[in-house]
């Protein structure tokens, strides 16, 4: 049974190792669980799970193994608050997909069908609760409501006392999809490169001891420059328009970046980079910095990180005068190429989910300009981008 729990956890992608399993066995040998299931639950959780974000999955696996409960790693359904669905749709659908929904009779219609379908499903399998549209025929699957763990809470049909692991109190802590500031920081840290130059000199004790010994005991002080993280980052953020949906992610990225890098220069642009950038959004029309000046001010050793959804009309990229808000003498792609020539280490982070990239022509175009160096703004994507930049 313990082995089943162990493998069950591994199957649920909770990182547990053999070492932890052996610890658990050792603890059991000493009767630390007090011979109760609840004690065993607490003990095995403390021994096997090392991060609160896995607690929820642990609860599910534990419930499954111990009670033979039906395993719902994907959530049961209940009533869906309409407001919530709308928000979901806004966040997860591309313009094209929204248009498709319209053609199916609009959002209202979709909501109605969804509600009906859920009622049907609840009636059909009592207590068992399944994803809507797992068969792949329902439009809900097709619209991508489910894949990233969007879930609707469930009601237990069985009336019985709820065990502690069935309460699923740690549900909010499972953050595999969501980016927290701390994850961002850890990912950004891959860029760190400590070097000794400039800065306050420190006493190098080992060197001093050796030099002094060689000097027949007369003190010979050796100094060394303090270690510093010397990575320089030029961060360009897309702001406004279609980016409004992603503001939270971007803010988090930015606040994480600010604490990680001493040399961080940050500017805003809108949709595509043109001749002007700005430091603060309120100064957008009054105090632009010319892109040329930025190119001339910050050297080749800066690493360029562009953050934007790259979702715009193709004209905004390739045509002079194509920008939405002003007349640009030169096309966006010209400026992009200037930036990429000036900064060989560059990457583009895109908050739009990767599976939706194909729907937007401009994303493809930017990706080509970037030489494929585009990554989704998820932990994995950020990680890959940082590895690429650090290489």
């Amino acid at each position: 049974m313990f082995l089943r729990l162990f493998f069950g956890l591994r199957d649920a992608r909770v990182p547990v190792s053999l070492r932890e399993y052996l610890t658990l066995l050792e603890a059991l040998k000493r009767d630390l669980h007090g011979f109760s299931v609840e004690g065993f639950y607490h003990l095995s959780r403390a021994a096997l799970v090392k991060d609160e974000r896995w607690f929820d999955r642990f609860d599910q696996v534990f419930g499954h193994i111990i009670k033979g409960l039906e395993l719902h790693l994907e959530e049961p359904w209940q009533e869906i608050p309409e407001e919530w669905l709308r928000k979901m749709a806004g966040q997860h659908l591309t313009e094209e997909e929204k248009a498709l929904i319209q053609s199916l009779g609009g959002f209202e219609e979709l909501m109605k069908t969804l509600a009906e379908r859920m009622k049907e499903q609840n009636e059909r399998h009592q207590g068992g609760s399944k994803w809507i549209g797992t068969g792949g025929t329902s439009p809900f699957g097709a619209w991508g409501y489910n894949p990233e763990g969007i879930r609707i809470g469930g009601k237990s049909v069985h009336r019985r006392a709820v065990k502690i692991w069935e309460k699923r109190v740690f549900k909010d802590l499972d953050d595999e999809v969501e980016l927290g500031t701390r994850n961002l920081k850890v990912a950004l840290r891959r860029l760190r490169r400590f070097t000794r130059d400039g800065g306050e000199p420190l006493l190098d004790i080992d060197e001093t001891i050796e030099a002094t010994a060689k000097n027949a005991g007369w003190l010979d002080l050796k100094l060394v420059a303090e270690k510093r993280n010397n990575v320089k980052v030029l961060l360009l953020l897309d702001i406004g328009g279609s980016m409004d949906d992603h503001i939270r992610e971007v803010e988090r990225l930015f606040s994480a970046a600010r604490t990680e890098f001493k040399h961080l220069e940050q500017f805003y642009f809108h949709n595509c980079v043109y001749e002007g950038l700005w430091r603060e959004n309120s100064l957008r029309w009054t105090d632009q910095t010319s892109t040329r000046e930025v190119l001339n001010t910050y050297g080749r050793d800066y690493k360029l990180i562009l953050v934007g959804d790259a979702s715009m009309s193709p004209y905004e990229i390739v045509m002079p005068g194509g920008a939405v808000e002003h007349w640009n003498e030169e096309a966006g792609v010209v400026w992009m190429q200037r930036l990429l020539t000036a900064y060989p280490d560059a990457t583009w982070l895109n908050p739009v989910p990767r599976r939706a990239w194909g729907y937007t022509e401009s994303i493809d175009m930017i990706k080509t300009v970037m030489d494929d160096r585009m990554h989704p703004l998820t932990l994995d994507g950020l990680d890959a981008a940082m590895r690429e930049l650090a290489a």
Partner: protein, 281 residues
């Protein structure tokens, strides 16, 4: 030996089990949780309950793992050498003991608190792996091995600022201090303020949980803030009605609960609309 909380600390079932396992197997216990839920206090209380001495090591961003073991004060020795001091002949005069050594040295076995381990560099926990595993380390200068007579109980706290290395995590037991539910919270309040009028506590707790649910707060008030607030409410003899009426709006003496002017602003504007809403799991 079972830890069951103390007269000033309310322990939940899972905490007791985790502490018990860590003590009995001699493994470190990693404690995480929202700020202000009593991570640091836990170590003090464990020490008190087990009747052991508490050695606390507060980690900062500049702390190096070595400093917990010992430091060799080469500069002092150099100076003494130049001045012809007798002490210079014995190198052990210049070995400064760190907190880990101090804890290892305690014959009765101490409780070692490594506080806010996530503040230090990412590699910090890795550098302590061997020392915490074997509970021994080698002093190169004097060629001696320092070994714990009685394995100390090691409590490590983290505020989630950094991911901790896997190898380190595998060696620990883990406990996450969940924000207390109302029931546990009233027990905690009871332990700290046994003399307060129950009506005041009830009203204050309602306001407190209401505040915690205001969406978008930068720093949600936690247990320690509630306890402080109750203390000042009592000290200033604020009437219960004033507290009770404040549900949603800014409560009296809100400075004890909200520590950020943006939060105060936020509560002033939206608090009244959200204050009564309860979370749905």
């Amino acid at each position: 030996m079972r830890f069951e909380g103390t007269d000033t600390y309310v322990a939940t079932e899972d905490l007791m089990v985790a502490v018990g396992a860590a003590v009995s197997l001699g493994r470190p216990l990693l404690v995480k949780g929202e700020p202000g839920t009593g991570k640091t206090v836990l170590a003090e209380e464990i020490a008190r309950a087990l009747g052991k001495r508490l050695v606390s090591w507060n980690v900062k961003s500049t702390t190096k793992a070595r400093q917990g073991l010992y430091e060799y004060d080469a500069v002092a020795r150099l100076r003494d050498g130049q001045l012809g001091d007798e002490r210079v002949n014995d190198i052990s005069n210049y070995i400064v003991r760190g907190k880990l050594w101090e804890a290892f040295d305690d014959d009765a076995g101490a409780v070692l608190l490594i506080d806010e381990v996530d503040k230090a560099d990412i590699e910090f926990p890795n550098d302590l792996l061997h020392e915490l595993d074997r509970m021994e380390f080698f002093v190169y200068e004097t060629k001696e091995t320092v070994r714990a007579v009685n394995r100390p109980v090691v409590i490590i706290t983290s505020n989630n600022e950094k991911e901790l290395p896997d190898a380190f995590l595998r060696r620990c037991f883990f406990h996450f201090i969940r924000f207390p539910d109302q029931q546990t919270m009233s027990r905690i309040v009871d332990v700290h303020h046994p003399d307060l009028a129950p009506e005041l506590i009830q009203a204050a707790m309602r306001v407190f949980y209401g505040l915690r649910e205001v969406p978008g707060l930068k720093k949600r008030p936690s247990t320690s803030e509630l306890l402080d607030w109750l203390k000042v409410l009592d000290a200033e003899s604020i009437e219960i009605e004033r507290v009770a009426k404040a549900t949603g709006a800014l409560p009296p003496l809100f400075g004890a609960l909200l520590k950020n002017e943006q939060d105060v602003d936020l509560v002033r504007h939206v608090g009244s609309r959200h204050g009564s809403r309860r979370g749905r799991g």
